[in-house]
Amino acid sequence: MDLVSIGISFAKILFVIFGILMLGAAASVWAERRVSAFMQDRLGPNRVGPFGLLQPFADVVKLIMKEDIVPKQANKFIHDLAPLISITVALSTFAIIPFGNKIELFGREIKLIVADIDIGILFLFALTSIGVYGITLAGWSSNNKYSLLGGLRSAAQLISYELSLGLSIMGIIMISGTLRLDQIVLQQTEYLWWYIPKWNILLQPVGFIVFLIAAFAETNRLPFDLPEAEPELVGGYHTEYTGMKFGLFYLSEYANIITSSAVMVTLFFGGWHLPSAEYWGLHPLILGVLQIMTFIFKIALFVIFFIAVKWTLPRFKYNQLMRIGWQFLLPLAILNFLVTGIVMLIL
């Protein structure tokens, strides 16, 4: 590995962390507040910068300036560690997602993916499971009953939904025969018929619905935001967090939404694939940039969907949450898995 390829890897990491995740999180915070305001016939923040676009940055400045309070009885080390775990996991899961096709730059072929590893999607599941520790430890170390309840709920919820999440994509892995996400995307760039691309949503609609619902639970979003249910748990696991430590939880929540959206786009909606774009005869570099834009556009649509759902649905009760997870999603995921296997055997 020479210096240039190390530099390229660095550039990719910087692009993913700052270009996609951080900016994306800021943009989704802004979109969340504006869209929710529009849904309630309000205007939302529109003072800082044009259309209030700089509002998230003003929020970050505010959070950094705030006092950092640690409760007297809290376990200080773990209390400090928990947000770090959350943010590390949130920022590193994106590494395995291809955000574009290969591009040629300065005579080099660059694969637009940070970590091109064989285990692919499994890496993501492994990391999101570590992410639970951030929330659970935050709840435990705060020495506050509400935080503890939030942390416990989060652990229970993530364990139940991780199963359905993993099983729901078994169908895709069986169809494509690989765990590598770049291969999965490449297989989706083929065409089923005429200009209709072979996106996995058309082959695995049930798998998609299960994955979507489980992804909502994984990211702790309404209707499954029990770990931070404000009406019952004050602030849930981050009740005792102030300043930028709270900000890190907030940031990781939005980074997780973006990563979940990106995974859904990659697995079910053809990733960076813009149907028919490869026949337009564009310069390969322009095509590459266009594909990155397509990828970001698809993620943005999903983020807006996440926001719309949050401001539409009421929260589930804890027993309903568990019932849906174990009695509805899990059997459905297994059924989808089985049916896919049978169909593949017959064909």
Partner: protein
């Protein structure tokens, strides 16, 4: 225990509703339809609410050619339920013979009831359409004559409204 068995669901859900997803889509349609609806928000510092004449803003003294109409009869101070008004009378060479040397309204006490305006025999004190009241101390909240006087042109609408109101009231009697 027996009672619990008697719970009847008044409305059973049909299969589409039990599937839950069509209902979610319906809900999403509703919330998303609100996104494109026109908004009624007035963005305050730029856009300001223009009150109707019936609006009771801060009380002001009506001034004709720079001289207040008030004859310092003290009825407003007497009727004020919050004891916000203080009047000190004196004599003057003018036709009205009496005038207030001191006329103070403590705006920290004023409750905008409009009794002073109602009781005034000279139409000298009226509720204006001003609603922006900011003061940094309680001393600052005591408005003297300098801040209370307002040319009659600016409160014309309110006076008109009051006359109409009084006329109607007599008619019904």
């Amino acid at each position: 225990m027996e009672k619990n068995k008697k719970i009847i669901r008044t409305k059973d859900l049909n299969i589409l509703q039990k599937l839950y997803i069509p209902e979610i889509i319906k809900g999403l349609k509703l919330t998303l339809s609100h996104v494109i609806r026109p908004r009624f928000t007035q963005e305050f510092p730029e856009e300001r609410f223009k009150p109707e004449p019936s609006f009771r803003g801060r009380p002001v003294l009506v001034a004709e050619n720079g001289i207040e109409r008030c004859v310092a009869c003290g009825l407003c101070a007497r009727v004020c339920p919050a004891l916000a008004i203080e009047v000190q009378a004196s004599e003057t060479e003018l036709e009205k013979e009496r005038y207030p040397v001191k006329f103070e309204i403590n705006m920290a006490r004023c409750i905008f009831c409009g009794f002073c305006e109602e009781v005034c025999p000279e139409e000298a004190i009226v509720m204006s359409n001003e609603y922006l009241l900011v003061f940094s101390s309680l001393d600052d909240a005591i408005f003297g004559k300098d801040r209370l006087l307002k040319p009659i042109e600016e409160v014309k609408d309110r006076l008109e409204f009051l006359r109409q109101f009084r006329y109607n009231k007599q008619e019904t009697k």
